[in-house]
Symmetry: C2
Subunit: 458 residues, 2 copies
Amino acid sequence: MPTSDPDGSATDLLEALAAAVAGRVLTDPASTEAYRRDQCLVADAGRPLAVVRAAGVDDVVAVLRLADEHRVPVVTRGAGSGLAGAANAVDDGLVLDVSGLDALSVDPVARTATVGPGVVNLDLDTAARAHGLFYAPDPGSRAYSSIGGNLATNAGGMCCAKYGVTADHALALTVVLPGGEVVRTGRTTRKDVVGLDLTRLLVGSEGTLGVVVEATVRLLPVPARTATAVLTFRDAAAAVDAVLAIGTVTTPSAVELMDATTVRAVNAMTRMGLDETPTLLVQCDGSDAAAEIAAVAALAQRHGALEVLHSDDEEEGRALMEARRVALTALERQGTVLLDDVCVPVHRLPELLGAIETAARAHGVLVGTFGHAADGNLHPTIVFDPASPGAAEAARACFDAIVDAALALDGTVSGEHGVGVLKAPYVARQVGAAEQALMRRVRAAFDPHGIMNPGRGY
Amino acid sequence: MPTSDPDGSATDLLEALAAAVAGRVLTDPASTEAYRRDQCLVADAGRPLAVVRAAGVDDVVAVLRLADEHRVPVVTRGAGSGLAGAANAVDDGLVLDVSGLDALSVDPVARTATVGPGVVNLDLDTAARAHGLFYAPDPGSRAYSSIGGNLATNAGGMCCAKYGVTADHALALTVVLPGGEVVRTGRTTRKDVVGLDLTRLLVGSEGTLGVVVEATVRLLPVPARTATAVLTFRDAAAAVDAVLAIGTVTTPSAVELMDATTVRAVNAMTRMGLDETPTLLVQCDGSDAAAEIAAVAALAQRHGALEVLHSDDEEEGRALMEARRVALTALERQGTVLLDDVCVPVHRLPELLGAIETAARAHGVLVGTFGHAADGNLHPTIVFDPASPGAAEAARACFDAIVDAALALDGTVSGEHGVGVLKAPYVARQVGAAEQALMRRVRAAFDPHGIMNPGRGY
């Protein structure tokens, strides 16, 4: 029973839910506690009226029909691996857990996969690889994040330099709208200009328009070869200069940057013994990967690289990329982290890196920066000790300064993590009033009663 | 003066327009006649109340403010090279000609260009090439079609196999909404998940949401080399089999198919003396283009190619591609053409090609088919003699049968030309009632009074 329910409407809703989705409604706070938050620990989370663990599309339809009738907020949740609080519960709302919608089928002839939102990214990729295909979008969370959340945040990863973001691989969606109507968007063709591109509109909408219950995604043939280079530089500006030069001769499948602070953290955790200086990790793939990586290495040398190491051995490549893969974990060992996700035009990265250093100094906090250099998408990671007086405030002030710096460089508040709760206060700094009003009118076209993830996003 | 204007509202609008956009309003039918149609000769076109030749953003704002106040339809028009009648005039509406908004600037450091909608695609590309960059989207009309129309139809071209469609290169838009409000969408960063992706929503919306008055597009470094192959096959199914195989080893920058009828038409016009059998034209680009095209040729041979010719000479490559470039012109020499634009999943191309042949035989018409094989996007072109009794009806019936065949193969009614007037009757065969209603609610969020290109699109 809800604690405050003067008109009994919450009780009515819970009874209707219990009838429609028997056995899959949790209301006991001890059970719902685990569904209150995603991985963004610094964002507020409410106390939900109930959690519904959907077992199929019918459950999603029932929840969205009843919630709409009762005007009760719905927060959709998959693996709970989000980094902006978009899946955090709303007080007295419902949490709709779609992790149980995990059907997965691969069509190797069409080179597509059709998946439920609860399918884990890596499981999709593994299933594709059994057919010589792969699923390109590779967020750092791919071992545990699910496709529903990847779609909700238009997740990126290392692959984007060459393969683009999740939206570039989402072909068709089945979506339940508030009220319970089921619509299908998109087409499995490579081109389609019939009507509005609702698929693209839904991807990245962070649960504000409807609930994806099935997605058909594009798979690509696994590249014949992969080759990898590690390049170190005197300073981050020199590294970015090399990134820009590399982009004129080839399109690597990954161009990852780690600053000296991040490398130091990795060394402290792994004893990898890396040079503690700004480092680029570059991968090329395809039949010509070895020649491409050699060209990258040569170019880097001409652009002032201190050390250049490259290999066309797959295993060695994986080992070289490992430093980047553990970067966040290594920084998390140093304290509580506040992970940012700003993105600027690539040629403005040196200015952003400078602004990050300035902000770190001004607020007396440690910031380790790593990220997807070829996309201009960095994850400045503020490390602080929450027990130290004023440290949390200093961290937040530094975070704020970094976001403002990105905006001043024509950048965006979020490249791939989404707005959620964490960045909702910053949206108005990036999106004008007229544009936000337009977005909200579009939102209302999907969700007239405003029940989907209210207060989040835009 | 409008011919029928019982309540004088049209007269009021014309007076207000004349005051706001002095000297750029045409009402004389002799002058407006040239603005009634795009290049789709078989679609209906109305008689406009007036044509406004906008000289700047203020003119567009004035037109959309006044038209919205008076509830008068607005059809936006650029170069008038559309192939679906989307820019055809509406009776008693306004035609808004934005071809005069043709400012163009290239930012070589950011690798972007900012253009007015009236800038011709090829002019943009030429300006980019002066900086070692290029603008990838290359519709067949690129020598005369303008960016506004390219955006409105999400135009494709030969490049899409590797580089995607117009939407993949449109970063940010400035758009005037019905009522005259100006909004800016998108970001020049490579990633952005802040709010809804209004840029993607606007691209391909065929003038139904607003008027793009400025676009910032992505430019890419010009590839170091291009190499070209001509491959002939016993039948179209064998050619498609080769296309699928090629896609597993490389991503060519063009994979164009011509059927025997098209090749015959090209021979008749040019005396190129090509083998009159299904033919693929493949281009690869990048530093490894020569090796890639050699691999393509070898693979084609293993997949039953009859003749294989390849070259890594740029000039020779251009000459080899010429046959494809003149295909439509060559077919137009044989009679009046009804050009289709269907797109299916690539592996279903053999079935589509079979259905096209069946339809041609059933309706006793000549169909030459060419198009973008790697995208599954074909342009079956029905050639008929309008003076011959029943020929126009047979052509339309064949067109209808081809569209239905594409839909039965999970295809789309239009891959890159758009719906416009020509294909509006087919939309309901592809898009469900709930989905169309949703699109219209989104449309109303932009255009509450329904003045933008009414009756067109979806």
